[in-house]
């Protein structure tokens, strides 16, 4: 049986701001089609790790491979130039806590922005694809309105469509539901659930423990910039081994379904 190489491979990754080290020597593999949930208290480094995967934060040391592109960091490695960084990021989609839709564009223009301005896809094709994606996230009826007229949940679904429009190899979610009113969380989690089911490789920073348990196949618990515990999602959430994981999970009431 030939072992398929992981889609995302993080090796000995560290990140420091001056003397303050926020990620310590982290290694993590995500298989093709896998979904990993990063959980942990705020300040544990989980968002920083996620932002390192598409190089919005530049790691201080270590290497990151996404599919066939490898980036090395450290004193002996040259810092990647702008074009190289852009090319790397174009293959990873990212969804942010604060949506970050472009207010100077309509909903559909947001979704077309990547294909049009990065991949230079013809406008007609970009538009057709954007409509299809908006339909997939249930937002096709809002294609021509300004993002400012949408609810948080709607904005986040558009942001997901915008990231998908680049046909990324992996999707990164940075607390995608943390800024939403409780009754709007479900619609966004639903879209994420569908994506995972469709075989998208995903890394999700989340405070939704039920979602981590039910949708992710692996859960990684981080604290103080270290990976404290990682394992199959159900095991880590229901039966944590490490004291710090137990302590953290005690703050959550994870309903059964």
């Amino acid at each position: 049986m030939s072992q398929q190489p992981p889609m995302i491979q993080i090796t000995n990754l560290s990140k420091a701001y001056g003397k303050n080290t926020v990620l310590h020597d982290i290694s993590l593999d995500v298989p093709q089609g896998g979904s990993v949930a990063l959980i942990g208290p705020s300040g544990s480094g989980k968002s920083t790790l996620l932002r390192c995967i598409n190089l919005l934060e530049e790691p201080s040391a270590g290497s990151i491979r996404v599919d066939s592109q490898v980036m090395e960091f450290g004193p002996r490695s040259q810092r990647p130039g702008g074009a190289r960084l852009a090319g790397f990021r174009a293959e990873t989609g990212m969804v942010f806590q604060s949506f970050n839709l472009f207010p100077n564009m309509t909903v559909i223009e947001n979704v077309m922005a990547g294909p049009l301005y990065v991949k230079h896809v013809p406008r007609d094709a970009a538009r057709a694809q954007a409509l299809e994606l908006l339909d997939r996230v249930g937002m096709a009826h809002k294609a021509d309105v300004s993002p400012s007229n949408l609810s948080g949940g709607q904005k986040q679904r558009v942001a997901i469509a915008r990231a998908l429009a680049m046909q990324p190899k992996v999707m990164l979610f940075d607390e995608a539901t943390s800024a939403l009113d409780p009754q709007l969380v479900g619609e966004v989690l639903g879209v994420m659930r569908d994506l995972a089911a469709a075989g998208m490789t995903m890394v999700v920073v989340t405070h939704e423990m039920a979602f981590a348990r039910d949708v992710a196949d692996t859960v990684v618990f981080m604290s103080g910039g270290y990976v404290v515990e990682k394992g199959p999602a159900h095991d880590v959430i229901e039966n944590p081994q490490e004291d710090r994981t137990k302590e953290f999970l005690r703050h959550f009431h994870v309903g059964r379904n």
Binding site: A86, A90, F96, S98, P103, N104, G114, V118
Partner: protein, 218 residues
């Protein structure tokens, strides 16, 4: 008070004031355009992570921000030619001083505009794989430019009024021409009243236009 106002004599010299208006408007347009170019470069360079570019430029712009434009103008006209061993016509000195002076302030407006954009916009654009240039052109600038209209117009209004300083180095702008007319007619009160009205008539529509644009883009 028995001063007899007499604008008739001023009217007689209207063509002289007309020339003054042409110089004032011409200087404003040219120094504003050059100033905006300088300002854009300053703002973008000061964003630069390379300190040997951003620090010296920051210092130069502070020198121009913290000295009066009249002093800069006189310095450019009298001192700069000696320092560089060249001759500068009054017009060249005026263009030079006013363009840089304007540029420094346009630069500040532009910088404040860039800073006012939510950092998430940069993240969003980068995450899609945009290069710096594409991000600026498609995401950041369209948002910055709308916010900048008001301050840019205010600065251009100041820029136009600042052109009155060039009369000191004998460039025949509206004020300089006014001085000529005043000394020819011995009617300074009428002449300066006329000049004030002319400045107002030029600038008032401009400030109203900017109000309109701001309301439309708000």
């Amino acid at each position: 008070m028995s001063y007899q106002w007499d604008f008739g004599l001023v009217w007689h010299y209207a063509p002289l004031l007309g020339t003054g208006i042409e110089y004032t408007l011409g200087l404003t347009v040219v120094t504003s355009v050059i100033g905006m170019v300088i300002g854009t470069c300053l703002a973008l360079c000061q964003q630069s992570r390379m300190w040997f570019i951003s620090v010296p430029l920051g210092m130069v712009s502070e020198v121009f921000r913290c000295t009066p434009s009249l002093v800069q103008l006189i310095w450019c006209y009298y001192a700069l030619p000696i320092v560089l061993g060249i001759t500068l016509s009054p017009m060249s000195a005026a263009l030079l001083a006013l363009s840089i002076y304007g540029g420094v302030f346009y630069g500040e407006i532009f910088r404040a505009g860039l800073r006012s954009i939510d950092p998430g916009q940069w993240d969003g654009a980068r995450a899609l794989g945009m290069t710096s240039w594409t991000m600026m052109r498609r995401v950041i600038l369209p948002q910055v430019l709308r916010r900048m209209v008001g301050p840019m117009v205010s600065q251009t209004v100041l820029q136009l009024k600042n052109t009155s300083l060039v009369s000191v180095v004998t460039v025949p702008d509206l004020v300089y021409q006014g001085q000529m007319v005043a000394s020819a007619t011995y009617r300074p009160l009428e002449v300066y009243t006329t000049i004030a009205i002319l400045y107002f008539l030029i600038l008032f529509p401009l400030t109203q236009l900017s109000r309109l644009l701001e309301r439309r883009w708000a």
